[in-house]
């Protein structure tokens, strides 16, 4: 029997197994190799909240999904074509992700009686048999046995050999998609530099998995996915959290300012703290604070001293920072707050995604407290928007909240590397009068420029000695003032300063479709990929739908009201119970409908597409 070679445009593969099976590593290796082969791609890891849930149990299952193709890819895919399951629990947890007729690659050594019991399958059941009966294609491989056989001469213990199971499977999948092994060989060699025997074992297991797929002809088809039409340039794969780190390092360089990150560990934002902690030589100081409040207030203290103060957290942590965000608003110091949102309220679903902190970002503080709010639309966009957040915070002396979420923070996509020389400048409004000059004019810490921005005078200069604080300040001098008219004036100034940012941000544009018509879909944040895919599919089917995506939520782009007014209907999909929808209604008095899902997951393209089509019925 010979294997049929086929070409495919788009494929989604989901690797799943126990948290100890190395699924995330397998997935990221497959992603890197796929990117190097020129495909566009999007990935999403799906791991349990428990660090080490009982082995073999359903809530200990870890998964990694990759969607790749010879065309542009905007999401990790609603469902997968190929599901790799290392044990019974992985099948149970992921079978609903598999497309009808899809392929299951099962490690048969993970389907023993004990495995079935741990996965809470009935003793007498045959879940793989049942899956086959439901029309799925089943590829059975004794991965554990074959890996042990492959590595029997290495001198490694059984336990050590079993750690290479994932590489055996990766070898099989590499064969299935006609992929080179070299990138992973290089990776393993470098990763296990100090343990060459482990590197060799992993490489051998992968090669033997590849050979096994050739020799045994377990697959009747093999697929090739051509390179995608991607804009020329240098690319790398990047997660949202890594992109935030790189943007902050870039801002430190272009602004020539030190950065101080105060942070307290929290899922799914901790990688930002980890990443920046490695960049001390970039003028970046990281401080793991005793709590969320110390994290942000230490950043405020550093801002007063002349650093870009940054704090990173997730919704519940940002809630604890509210009072300090208000302090920074009052002090009018630069402050960047990264909120990697997760499903709430309270502890909620810490490892699952949601975009339900928009209200918190816009309104969640005491007093009239205007801050700037930005949102990234994809993993790579976290770079652009975090850099923008740093720029606005510094140039406008204002707290800026940058909203990311668990989906784009952990998800990855190819990122076209920016040219360092093309990064736009960040110009801090530093005020440093000559100390021995004859100019004796007093310093006014709360004077303002044409954008209502006050001067940033940092300690160390004799001529700019001043005090600031959370009490209302007198216009110009910054002295404490209880004067009613002054409070009215200062409240207005803070708002006008925030609103003046609108002059500096891009006007809102239509992403897909005509600039007027029957239906406009308005998105913000991480739903971009799902909405874009749904819109493109609906438009291909002839529906005259347009799409615009907001990255600036406070202030909103100056032309947004006009843009919205040119459509008969507006649909706002969000992974929350309806938040932007209220902002648009409130700001522009327009009729808006919502499409709201709060399942801890990205929006499903097919569900959203159905909702769009429904609007035309």
């Amino acid at each position: 029997m010979s294997v049929i070679e086929k070409h495919k445009k788009v494929v989604t593969v989901r690797f799943s197994g126990d948290s100890g099976d190395g699924i995330q590593l397998t997935g990221s290796q497959f992603s890197n190799t796929t990117a190097l082969s020129g495909n566009d791609l999007s990935t999403f890891p799906d791991y349990p909240a428990e660090i080490r849930a009982p082995a073999g149990s359903v809530h200990g299952v870890s998964a990694f999904q990759i969607n790749f193709g010879s065309q542009r890819i905007h999401t990790p895919g609603d469902s997968c074509d190929v599901l790799v399951v290392m044990n019974a629990a992985a099948l149970k947890a992921n079978i609903t992700s598999l497309k009808p007729g899809g392929i299951i690659i099962a490690n048969m050594d993970g389907f023993g009686k004990k495995d079935l019991a741990l996965a809470r399958y009935d003793k007498t059941s045959d879940p793989l048999g049942d899956a086959k009966k439901s029309g799925f294609q089943l590829i059975k491989i004794d991965v554990t046995k074959l890996t042990r056989e492959s590595l029997k001469d290495t001198g490694l213990s059984t336990k050590e050999m079993d750690r290479s199971k994932n590489m055996f499977v990766l070898g099989v999948v590499y064969w299935l998609y006609n992929r080179p092994l070299d990138p992973t060989i290089e990776f393993l060699t470098s990763k296990f530099k100090s343990k060459p025997e482990i590197a060799e074992a992993n490489i051998k297991a992968m090669k033997d998995g590849y050979s096994f797929a050739i020799a045994t002809e377990v697959f009747s088809e093999r697929y090739t996915i051509e390179a995608a039409p991607i804009e020329p340039g240098s690319y790398r794969n990047i997660t949202g959290n890594d992109a935030v780190v790189l943007a902050i390092a870039s801002a430190a360089q272009t602004s020539d300012l030190p950065v101080f990150l105060g942070s307290y560990p929290i899922t799914p934002a901790s990688e930002i703290l980890h990443g920046l902690s490695k960049l001390k030589h970039y003028g970046i100081t990281t401080f793991q604070a005793e709590d969320e409040i110390a994290a942000i207030t230490s950043a405020i203290g550093a801002s007063y001293g002349g650093s870009i103060g940054v704090t990173s957290s997730s919704g519940p942590g940002v809630a604890l920072k509210s009072e300090a965000i208000a302090l920074a608003t009052m002090l009018e110091l630069p402050l960047v707050i990264i909120n990697v949102q997760r499903a709430g309220p309270s502890t909620g679903l810490p490892t699952k995604t949601e975009q339900s902190d928009l209200f918190q970002a816009l309104y969640g503080r005491a007093g009239d407290c205007p801050v700037a709010v930005l949102a990234a639309r994809s993993p790579a966009d976290c770079y652009a928007m975090t850099y923008e957040a740093c720029k606005i915070a510094v140039e406008h002396m204002i707290p800026v909240i940058m909203l990311s979420d668990g989906y784009i923070a952990n998800g990855a996509e190819p990122w076209k590397l920016p040219e360092v020389k093309d990064l736009y400048a960040i110009k801090p409004p530093l005020y440093r009068p000559a100390e021995n000059g004859s100019d004796a004019s007093p310093f006014f810490p709360y004077s303002r420029n044409e954008d209502f921005v006050r001067p940033w005078a940092i300690p160390g200069n004799k001529k700019t000695i001043h005090r600031i604080g959370g009490l209302e300040k007198e216009d110009q001098t910054g002295n404490i003032s209880y004067d009613p008219d002054n409070h009215q004036h200062m409240t207005r100034m803070r708002e006008e300063k925030r609103d003046a940012i609108a002059k500096k941000i891009p006007l809102q544009t239509i992403d897909e479709g005509p600039d007027q018509g029957p239906l406009l879909v308005v998105g913000w944040g991480s739903t971009y990929g799902s909405i874009k895919s749904a819109i493109m599919e609906a438009r291909e089917e002839g529906y005259a739908v347009s799409f615009t995506h907001l990255k600036y939520l406070s202030p909103l782009p100056l032309n947004l009201g006009d843009l919205l007014s040119r459509f008969d209907k507006i649909l706002v999909p969000e992974i929350n119970n309806g938040q932007l929808i209220h902002v648009l209604r409130d700001t522009y008095q327009v009729q808006v409908e919502g499409f709201n899902k709060v399942r801890g997951q990205p929006l499903k393209v097919h569900e959203l597409k159905a909702a769009i089509i429904e609007e035309f019925s």
């Binding site: 001390k280 030589h281 970039y282």
Partner: protein, 345 residues
């Protein structure tokens, strides 16, 4: 006080006073502390532009507004955290934290203990008046148990903190106690706090004339203070009372008051104060309970403990230098590229 401020000193002091009207209640102990800080600063050889006062919320926390130095009046309890960010990023500055018993030990207790264990070079002045003043008179975490206040009409049920035991338990490296009514000692302790490299905690007994007047009367009243207050001096025996009539000696780990007029005790049998002795410092911080009555332990004033170890920011600087050595100059292009890139043509 006249012994502390000569005309030229007064002129220098005023150069550290801002033009803002001081708005504490007449007779508040805060005035003395402000004056002693303003008097001390010109003698330290550090320019006002290189000094920052950071405060939280409360009566004492208005302090930065009255200093002609840099300063931040922050939010309730967070002064040590704000100061941590400022000092860590600007180790060249002399950073002072002004806090009170409510601000520093209640709402901001967490930040206080963590800055102590990190040993950042901050001078923390804890104005302890055993009451909430700015909110008009509720019991505080240092109020005596049973304290009658607006929020505890039948007496408070809380056991008060022992601030210096707490600070030592937090691995504080400099702990001292003084009082507003003894400006000379206060100034000396301020100076010692400044000189200490690392977090210094100076607890200042400060009288709130409106809501808790006389809270420290036993230590300030001429008739009683001799018997209740013990002034610690390095390498000197623990002596107190009129004409140093009483001494303290250690019976194993138990401090015992001895009446030197009544008992035959030689000087070398008495407890000799050693600021660097942590075990003795532990015991000294426990001179705290019910010590107003005869034959009970006096309250120690002075430096209870002082230990010189590397500060947080010094160690951070070392790590920064190491990172520079290891990685060389920042190369943003290389950083953005990462390890795996590919080119699309």
């Amino acid at each position: 006080m006249s012994t502390l401020t000569t005309p030229s000193k007064e002129k220098k002091r005023k150069s550290y006073a801002s033009n803002q009207e001081v708005r504490w209640c007449p007779g508040c102990g805060d005035y003395t502390i402000l004056k002693q800080v303003q008097t001390l600063l010109p003698t330290l050889g550090v320019e006002p532009e290189n000094i920052a006062f950071v405060a939280g919320i409360g009566c004492s926390s208005r302090f930065p507004y009255y200093m002609d130095t840099y300063g931040i009046h922050g939010i309730h309890g967070r002064a040590p955290a704000i100061a941590t960010g400022l000092k860590t990023s600007r180790p060249d500055l002399s950073v002072w934290v002004i806090t009170g018993d409510g601000d520093g030990l209640s709402i901001g207790g967490n930040h206080l203990i963590h800055s102590l264990r990190r040993n950042i070079d901050l001078n923390i002045l804890l104005f302890n008046n055993e009451i909430y003043g700015l909110t008009k008179g509720q019991y505080s975490p240092t109020s005596q148990k049973g304290h009658i206040s607006k929020s505890s009409p039948q007496g408070s049920l809380d056991n008060p903190f022992n601030p210096l035991s707490l600070a030592l338990g937090s691995r504080g490296t400099f702990l001292a106690r003084t009082m507003d009514r003894d400006p000379k000692h206060l100034q000396k302790m301020l100076e010692r706090s400044y000189q200490h490299k690392g977090t210094s905690l100076l607890e200042i007994y400060q009288n709130c004339i409106v809501f808790n007047d006389g809270a420290f009367e036993p230590y300030t009243n001429k008739a009683t203070r001799n018997k209740t207050s013990l002034y610690l001096q390095q390498d000197q025996p623990l002596l107190f009372g009129e004409n140093n009539r009483y001494g303290v000696r250690l019976d194993g780990l138990k401090p015992v008051v001895v009446d030197l007029q009544e008992e035959e005790v030689s000087a070398d049998e008495l407890w000799i104060h050693d600021e660097s002795d942590k075990t003795k410092a532990w015991l000294l911080t426990t001179f705290f309970e019910n010590n107003f009555k005869d034959n009970l332990l006096p309250r120690p004033f002075g430096v209870l403990y002082s230990e010189q170890i590397p500060t947080y920011e010094e160690q951070l600087q070392i790590q920064i230098e190491q990172a520079k050595e290891r990685h060389g100059k920042p190369d943003l292009e290389k950083l953005l590229k990462g390890n795996d890139t590919w080119v699309v043509r």
